[in-house]
């Protein structure tokens, strides 16, 4: 299952140290407000290679967001383990991009992007001048990378939805995460903005060889971006099938509108809705 992707090789060339994510026997039970026990995750095993891009799709309530939050350490598992680059969640820097607009409205774009770095500067004792200079440089770099440089002094509500999600992404990337976790980050955007951001994300995560776990309910979005698409079944959430997408990253705009992608998306759709694929097409395999 563990794949050495082109992203890994690329990251190693750059001398960065990517980390993988290993989820073993993950079970999560919730007690709902009526006192009923809900099995949200049921025995999930997932081994994500350093630098790999994995998309998770599944029906609403299948626990895909819970899985992502468990990797981030925002949620504790009932049983099972999660490791990020061999460590428990929370010890290694992981970036989290929320679904809804989660920028702090009282901070400008630049201050939002530097939020995680600000916390580090505070912890290092108020910050030597060097820390701050490094932080400001990193923030400027990310604003440039996400195309927000000229909006650095804007407040979030002055930005479009697409720009807000770019800023969210920049904020998550600012702390140089080994793993980037994204929870339906583009779901509230219009189709055109979404496709553009998908292509931009390709480029951005490959640049540092960042391992990416991307939760979405948009099958095409999943198949376009990911090395592997993990299909989860409805509650209790299990991994129904894993599709591999054999197309070198970064993926092009041509691939975004290719018949191959459409075909692959159809296969994944069939798996999601009928629980099995009657047809076997090239490009997809378990």
């Amino acid at each position: 299952m563990r794949a050495r992707t082109n992203a890994t090789a690329l990251a190693e060339d750059r001398g960065t140290t990517p980390g993988g994510v290993v989820v073993t026997g993950a079970v999560k039970d919730f007690v709902d407000p009526h006192g009923e026990l809900l099995h949200v995750l049921d025995d999930i095993d997932l081994d994500i290679a350093p630098g790999e891009f994995v998309a998770v799709v599944g029906p609403s309530g299948c626990g895909k967001t819970t899985l992502l939050r468990a990797i981030q350490g925002l949620e504790t598992l009932t049983t099972g383990t999660v490791t990020v680059a061999g460590c428990p969640p929370g010890e290694i820097a992981t970036g989290f991009v929320f679904q809804r607009a989660s920028l702090l409205p009282w901070k400008t774009v630049a201050r939002n992007v530097s939020f995680g770095l600000d916390l580090r500067v505070i912890r290092s004792g108020g910050g030597a001048g060097g820390d701050r200079a490094a932080r400001d440089e990193r923030v400027a770099e990310l604003l440039e990378l996400t195309g927000l440089a000229e909006f650095r002094d804007f407040y979030p509500r002055q930005l479009s939805g697409g720009m807000q999600q770019r800023a969210n992404l920049a904020r998550a990337l600012a702390i140089d995460p080994v793993v980037l976790l994204m929870d339906e980050p583009f779901s509230s955007l219009d189709a055109q903005t979404r496709e553009k951001l998908q292509r931009d994300l390709q480029r951005i995560v490959l640049q540092d060889g960042t391992t990416t776990v991307f939760v979405t309910h948009d099958i095409r979005e999943a198949a376009f971006q990911a090395d592997r698409v993990v299909v989860m079944s409805a509650r209790p959430g299990r991994i129904a099938r894993v599709f591999r997408v054999d197309e070198p990253r970064p993926r092009s705009a041509e691939f975004q509108h290719s018949d191959r992608l459409a075909e692959l998306a159809r296969d994944i759709w069939t798996e999601l809705h009928d629980g099995g694929t009657p047809r076997d097409t090239g490009g997809a395999s378990t």
Binding site: L74, F98, S102, L104, W106, K107, F115, L119, F154, Y155
Partner: protein
């Protein structure tokens, strides 16, 4: 004309400042704002003219009602012999002390009660009981405890002003927590960092709303405290004039109180626009 227009155009100027910070997109409405100010001025001036006309045509008993010109005459007279200035300064002093005392108690207490579930659980029953009790009913107690002097007046004003600030601060912190504490958690912020970096700045607009509500109540407190016994103050002027059937003087006291309310609210709104430039409530009219 000029004096009547003043508070209206002042308020409009403040709203205009907030709008400029919001960006060019809102500039379209600037024309509408000028129209709004003009209509407001016409409405007030027209109302005053009608009032004056009605009094001159109908000749009502001057003990029951007097026209704006008679009120203006009374104003000039009261201002001329120094009575109004003495009553005004006494009331303003009591108001300022009471209001600041209320804010100094309510803001820190509200932050603690908003941020700590335990503090909230212990404090909320008291808050409910005290808030639903007509606060003015407690005024005689303060006079028993503190005498007829300034301190009982300050205490009564602080009592009526403390609850709106407290309740809004608590609600603010809780709303901000619910919305953004996850962002803090995702960036590994500890409790103290969440409080300083998220709860505190995020609840500022709510605190300002509380201050604005408290301001109106504090002015009521100024009058009510005077009714329980005073030797100077706008409430004293009001009561004294009413008992002597000096109806025009009653209207002078009411007008000064109304002008104070309008001016202080505008000042607070100006402060809010400066301190919360991102503010969601900048553009609101209340």
């Amino acid at each position: 004309m000029a004096t009547t227009r003043k508070p209206i155009s002042f308020g409009a100027a403040i709203r205009g400042r907030g709008a400029r910070a919001e960006g060019a997109g809102r500039a379209v409405r600037a024309g509408g704002r000028g129209v709004k100010a003009r209509r407001g001025a016409i409405s007030i001036l027209g109302g005053l003219a009608l009032w004056e006309l009605a009094v001159r045509v109908l000749h009502p008993n001057p003990i029951q009602i007097v026209g704006p010109s008679a009120i203006a005459d009374a104003f000039v007279q009261l201002a001329g012999d120094g009575t109004l200035w003495r009553d005004f300064t006494v009331s303003m002093q009591q108001f300022a002390l009471g209001f600041l005392l209320a804010a100094a108690i309510a803001i820190p207490l509200g932050l603690v009660m908003g941020a700590s579930t335990r503090a909230y659980d212990y404090g909320d029953p008291w808050l409910t009981i005290l808030y639903t009790t007509p606060n003015v009913a407690l005024a005689p107690l303060f006079i028993i405890w503190l005498g007829f002097g300034n301190s009982s007046h300050v205490a009564i004003i602080a009592l009526v002003a403390v609850f709106p600030i407290l309740i809004n601060t608590i609600d603010g912190v809780r709303a901000v927590e619910a919305e953004w504490s996850e962002v803090g958690a995702a960036f590994r912020a500890n409790r103290r960092e969440v409080f300083a970096k998220i709860d505190l700045p995020g609840s500022l607009p709510y605190i300002f709303t509380g201050l604005r509500l408290a301001l109106a109540r504090a002015l009521v407190g100024v009058v009510v405290a005077d009714l329980f016994g005073a030797s100077a103050g706008l409430g004293y002027l009001l009561l004294n004039s009413a008992q002597a059937f000096k109806t025009a003087d009653v209207f002078v006291a009411v007008t000064v109180l109304a002008a104070l309310g309008v001016f202080l609210t505008a000042a607070l709104r100006y402060l809010q626009a400066r301190l919360t430039p991102w503010g969601p409530s900048n553009g609101s009219s209340r």
